[in-house]
């Protein structure tokens, strides 16, 4: 776990998921003090909640690369 973990609200889905996977394998591996275990558990729960939130709120972003290399929002025609 990083020394000063970023607030989960700042994490993207991939970042949260990657940290969660790392956390789980650490938790699986070595043994640590109770406080550490509880802290990791809380962090893991927050990461999962962040991922679920992102999945629920997910809304496809559609952009376009212009001829001069700019990325602009794309108006969709239905």
């Amino acid at each position: 776990m990083p020394k000063s973990p970023a607030s989960v609200q700042d994490l993207s889905y991939e970042q949260a998921l990657a940290e969660l996977e790392a956390l789980l394998s650490t938790l699986e591996g070595e043994s640590r003090d109770l406080e550490g275990t509880m802290a990791m558990f809380e962090r893991g729960k927050a990461l999962i909640a962040r991922c679920q939130e992102l999945l629920e709120k997910a809304d496809l972003k559609v952009k376009q690369l212009t001829a001069d290399g700019e990325i602009i929002d794309l108006e969709e025609q239905d």
């Binding site: 956390l23 789980l24 938790l27 640590r32 893991g44 999962i48 997910a58 990325i71």
Partner: protein
């Protein structure tokens, strides 16, 4: 050759029989059963029956052709008079009209044959360069963040891709690099779009594609410049060009080939339902791991509590007290044992004393002799003749005098 009219009974066929005979000859010829013919369409007729009739012509001959309704439905090329085509089919006879004709089961615009030759030549060349090697194929990211798309902004393909991503995994961001997907300019612009996406957007994966069309419509995706751009792309490329049955050189150069643009979108992202399932399993795993971690600590804690207890003064006092209890118990037991031993000894001694009780002796018939002063006479030396002595028996005493002393 003049016919010989003198013959009495010549062999005469009916028209029907002769026509059937000719038909059988034509149909038994292997070359005519499987033949390609090139020519120009004329007298095109499409009656309401759905069958198509036309004549193939070149400078010096013509051939009647039929396409049955079932085959006509599968034609990709739109036929018109004057069109140069290559038709494939079987030669047979239309008996009522007395005409042999081509029964067409496949047809393409003339020149497609040449295109195909070009396709094969370029494929062999690029294959020899190793552009299509399996070792070049890169794995796709499990969950891309940004997906670059190279297709027409107005085509159905782009909408298919967006709809699929929206349902399947709306987490991603799509960046379209719009291009014309057919026509003269298409290959250069498609190749440039792949490069521009890599340069300006650096996407995790690129989808390149277009909807179905004729071989000519799809031709831009067989262009060497497009194929090279796809092979050189930094981001892995998924191709989705045309329909299931269409293969382009872009497909061979791509890291993954999808049958359609929709298929490419499916391959590009995981299903959100699977992501949810994965999260639930992670959540369970986390709880189990934390619980087992806490259990481990709980066990350690109780172990340590034991050790701590053994070092505390209270423990020492308790230990001392227990030892005291122990000792006093042993003491009590010891005392009891001693008492019992003493009592047993007393009983024993008492027994021996009882044996010595004179009364007991008297009971057995012995007598106790005392002199006048009451002193015990235990020897003949203590008595004189004529002396009065008292004889004690068990139930009383009498006085008597000593008559004779014997030794």
């Amino acid at each position: 050759m003049e016919p010989d009219f003198s013959t009495i009974n010549p062999q005469v066929y009916s028209v029907t029989d002769l026509t059937a005979y000719i038909r059988a000859i034509l149909e038994s010829n292997e070359n005519l059963a499987n033949v390609w013919v090139s020519g120009e369409i004329s007298n095109l007729s499409r009656p309401s029956s759905g069958h198509i009739y036309f004549t193939l012509k070149d400078a010096s001959a013509s051939l009647r052709c039929v396409i049955w309704r079932e085959q006509a439905r599968h034609l990709s090329a739109a036929l018109r008079d004057g069109m140069a085509v290559e038709a494939h089919g079987t030669i047979s006879v239309y008996e009522q009209g007395g005409q042999y004709q081509l029964y067409v089961d496949g047809l393409r615009a003339a020149g497609e044959g040449l295109l195909y030759q070009e396709f094969l030549r370029l494929k062999a060349k690029l294959e020899a360069e190793g552009l299509f090697d399996e070792e070049r194929k890169r794995p796709l990211p499990r969950l891309p963040k940004v997906i670059g798309v190279v297709t027409s902004a107005t085509g159905a393909a782009f909408q298919d891709i967006l709809n699929t991503l929206r349902v399947r995994c709306p987490l991603v961001e799509v960046v379209l690099s719009p291009v014309p997907v057919q026509g003269e300019a298409a290959p250069v612009l498609i190749a440039a779009a792949v490069e521009a996406l890599n340069y300006s957007v650096n996407p995790d994966v690129i989808i390149i594609g277009r909807g179905g069309g004729s071989l000519e419509d799809l031709w831009a995706f067989n262009d060497e410049r497009v194929v090279r751009a796809v092979a050189a792309s930094k981001a892995p490329v998924i191709s989705g060009v045309g329909h299931e049955t269409d293969f382009t050189l872009t497909d061979f150069a791509a890291d993954l080939r999808a049958p359609t643009p929709t298929g490419a979108a499916v391959l590009a992202v995981p299903d959100i339902a699977d992501l949810n399932t994965e999260l639930r399993s992670f959540s369970l795993q986390l709880s189990l791991l934390a619980e087992s971690g806490i259990d481990e600590k709980r066990y350690e804690l109780s172990e340590n509590a034991h050790r701590l207890e053994s070092l505390s003064p209270r423990w020492q006092v308790r230990q001392g007290m227990q030892r005291l209890d122990d000792l006093s118990l042993r003491l009590a037991t010891g005392i009891k044992t001693n008492l019992r031993t003493e009592m047993a000894r007393l009983v024993f001694i008492g027994g021996r004393l009882a044996v010595l009780d004179p009364q007991n002796v008297l009971r057995r018939g012995y007598a106790l002799v005392r002199d006048a002063s009451g002193a015990l006479v235990a020897s003949i030396l203590k008595v004189k003749l004529g002396q009065t002595v008292n004889v004690l028996l068990q139930d009383g005493s009498f006085d008597t005098s000593v008559k004779e002393i014997k030794k």
